[in-house]
């Protein structure tokens, strides 16, 4: 029997896959002048064809999600319920796509600095983005697995993109080994849940809504077996790993430090946003309590906020500092996942958007200041650059203040929305921990600002010049949106709330 299929709902994903294939073909078949200034003999992309195709694909996918869905308000299912399109998934898809576009723009400058070939790099980014979009539309455990792998496997390769540098290869291998292990754990959890549904209802299915219904019913009747609880925990561990929540965060600093800076920036925002959305879709609502996961997630969120923020204090490498800061921000998102009401889900969405732009701005500054053969990585590398280049310094300052959560910047409203939802749902102590750890974070977020403006640049430091236009665009766009979301959060908050209501209504 041929299943019912509506490819019209899958257009953004198909556009990204097509763009990825076209990039590969263009890279392989279009005649290229071999770069004369290329020490490694790799053929670069002087006319930016690969970049152009990638951006067109991403923008087309985004435009279709924004304007091409028609007036359907409810959720639409296709592929026998494997694939769902709803406002919630679409909203997170937009956030992920915007993060990816910024990541691609930053990558362009970085790839030119490093003289790396662009074709495979962009194709991998496109394929990983496709995985993110499938993950956001997944309503079936098998689909979650496929989407997660499609997202992760290109990321393993991208982490090791600097294949002649030990650190980058180490990052790739570490991410591959630990990531595969986490996926296997998650799969074991899914298998147990699948077995439970089959035994309890007599009908074996991998559909998430059927699993949730069965778990809730069994829990209400007091018949939930231990192995189903184990399945829930294991399934959640896999996702928490991708979100680098404590105690599954060990890989984060090493991988973020070794990966290409633009990929670090993109991973830290988009993967986190997508994973938070999947956690909300699977574990949001009463099923979290039914599986006895609420207390576990509470502890994980508290530990993540605390350890992320305190470990960031001691870092001398800016990328490592931002890695631990991303761990901490994952913790704040987990608070929103716990308070899975429509306000809580909306807060996670807004927070993900605010974090995407605020964090991208910080990484954009690092890439902007890097030159051929010189990567800005430690705090010492930033010395005095703010006084030399006040605008770049200001961008770093705004980004750090937004990550801290200082009004009137985007990060403030993100944190405010999350903590308000948490208090409404009764997580008062978690909110207190969140606020205290936010206070800790001020110390390390101020450090780049202090170093950039209040210490002297070493002799011979020159202004960064000759940066590609793409890096400038990404820098300006990220900081403008960070300020804009802070000054006028109303429209975006309403949009987030409407999207989140679509999710909560479907429960």
């Amino acid at each position: 029997m041929i299943p019912s299929m509506d490819f019209g709902l899958m257009v953004p994903e198909l556009l990204l896959i097509a763009a990825g294939i076209v990039v590969l073909l263009a890279d392989a078949f279009l005649p290229r002048e071999a770069g004369k200034d290329d020490p490694r003999g790799d053929v670069n992309d002087p006319r930016g064809i690969n970049l152009g195709i990638t951006l067109v694909g991403l923008l087309a996918a985004g435009a279709f999600i924004a304007f091409g869905r028609g007036d359907v308000t409810g959720a639409q299912e296709t592929f026998e319920g494997l694939f769902i399109v709803d406002r919630f998934g679409d909203a997170f898809k937009m956030v992920a796509l915007l993060g990816t576009i910024l990541g691609v723009l930053l990558s362009d400058g970085w790839l030119r600095n490093q003289r790396l070939p662009t074709g495979a790099f962009y194709a991998l980014i496109l394929f990983a983005t496709t995985g993110m979009l499938y993950l956001l539309s997944a309503t079936d455990m098998v689909m979650v697995f496929v989407g997660l792998e499609l997202m992760s496997i290109p990321l393993y390769c991208l982490a090791a993109a600097l294949r002649w540098e030990d650190r980058s290869v180490e990052a790739g291998v570490k991410y591959l080994v630990l990531g595969s292990f986490a996926t296997a754990v998650m799969l074991m959890g899914f298998a147990l849940l699948y077995g439970f549904v089959g035994i309890y209802t007599g009908e074996a299915t991998t559909r998430l809504d059927a699993v949730v219904t069965a778990v809730n019913a069994a829990s209400a009747a007091g018949e939930l077996p231990g192995f189903a609880l184990l399945g829930g925990v294991l399934a959640m561990i896999g996702l928490l790993f991708k979100m680098s929540a404590v105690p599954f965060h060990m890989w984060t600093p090493d991988v973020y430090e070794g990966s290409p800076t633009s990929i670090t920036a993109w991973m830290s925002v988009s993967v986190k946003a997508v994973t938070a959305a999947v956690l909300l879709r699977i574990f949001g609502g009463e099923v979290l309590d039914a599986l006895h996961l609420e207390g576990i997630l509470w502890v994980v969120a508290a530990l993540t906020m605390f350890l992320g923020n305190t470990m960031a204090l001691t870092q001398d490498n800016v990328k490592r500092m931002l890695a631990y800061s991303s761990v901490a921000h994952g913790g704040y998102m987990l608070v929103g996942v716990l308070a899975a009401s429509s306000a809580g889900s909306a807060a996670v969405l807004f927070y993900a958007a605010a974090y995407t732009f605020g964090n991208m701005a910080a990484f954009a500054v690092l890439i902007y200041l890097s030159r051929v053969g010189y990567e800005v990585e430690t705090f010492d590398d930033l010395k005095g650059l703010g006084t030399k280049m006040p605008l770049v310094g200001a961008v770093m300052g705004i980004s750090m203040l937004s990550l801290m959560g200082i009004p009137p910047l985007a990060g403030f409203f993100g944190k405010f929305a999350i903590f308000r939802a948490a208090v409404t749902e009764g997580y008062v102590w978690l909110t207190v921990i969140g606020l205290l750890t936010s206070a800790i974070s001020v110390a390390y977020y101020l450090r780049p600002i202090v170093v950039m403006f209040m210490s002297d640049a070493p002799a011979g430091t020159a202004k960064a010049t000759g940066q590609a236009w793409t890096v400038r665009v990404a820098l300006v766009a990220a900081v403008l949106v960070t300020v804009g979301l802070g000054l006028m959060p109303g429209g975006t908050l309403d949009w987030a709330l409407e999207s989140a209501q679509a999710l909560v209504a479907g429960r």
Partner: protein, 123 residues
């Protein structure tokens, strides 16, 4: 319900018991000497005939083998999908043909990319 697993338990106990008996008899009857006091013949591998070769068996393999192996896996997987399609060819009809063509084309794209990037050259 658990009774059907009784043979497994019996086999497990039997195996453990056999092991214990063999090792026990050996340690009861055998002469005990310190390592240094043993004649050289006693340090040879037991009943294996010849002493092991003292060569290092770990050798590095050129990365080009892996490249070919990965390309091979690509077409291996294609075959895995081709068989069920061939069995169900009549039932799937045009739909199945188009689906398979999409799959084959994307596979060929991959091969073309590998070919243009020089993955097929043996250097």
């Amino acid at each position: 319900m658990t009774a059907q697993y009784l043979p497994v338990l019996m086999i497990t106990l039997g195996a453990l018991g056999f092991m214990a008996v063999m090792l026990g008899i050996n340690s009861l009857l055998g002469t005990k000497r310190k390592h240094e006091q043993m004649p050289k013949i006693m340090l040879e591998p037991f009943e294996c005939g010849s002493p092991p070769l003292q060569t290092d068996n770990r050798r590095r393999t050129a990365v080009k083998y892996y490249l070919v192996a990965i390309l091979f896996v690509m077409f291996d997987l294609e075959t895995v999908l081709l068989y069920p399609w061939a069995v169900l060819y009549k039932e799937l009809g045009l739909f199945g043909l188009v689906e398979l063509l999409v799959f084959m084309i994307s596979l060929v794209v991959g091969l073309a990319y590998a070919w243009r990037k020089g993955a097929l050259e043996w250097r």
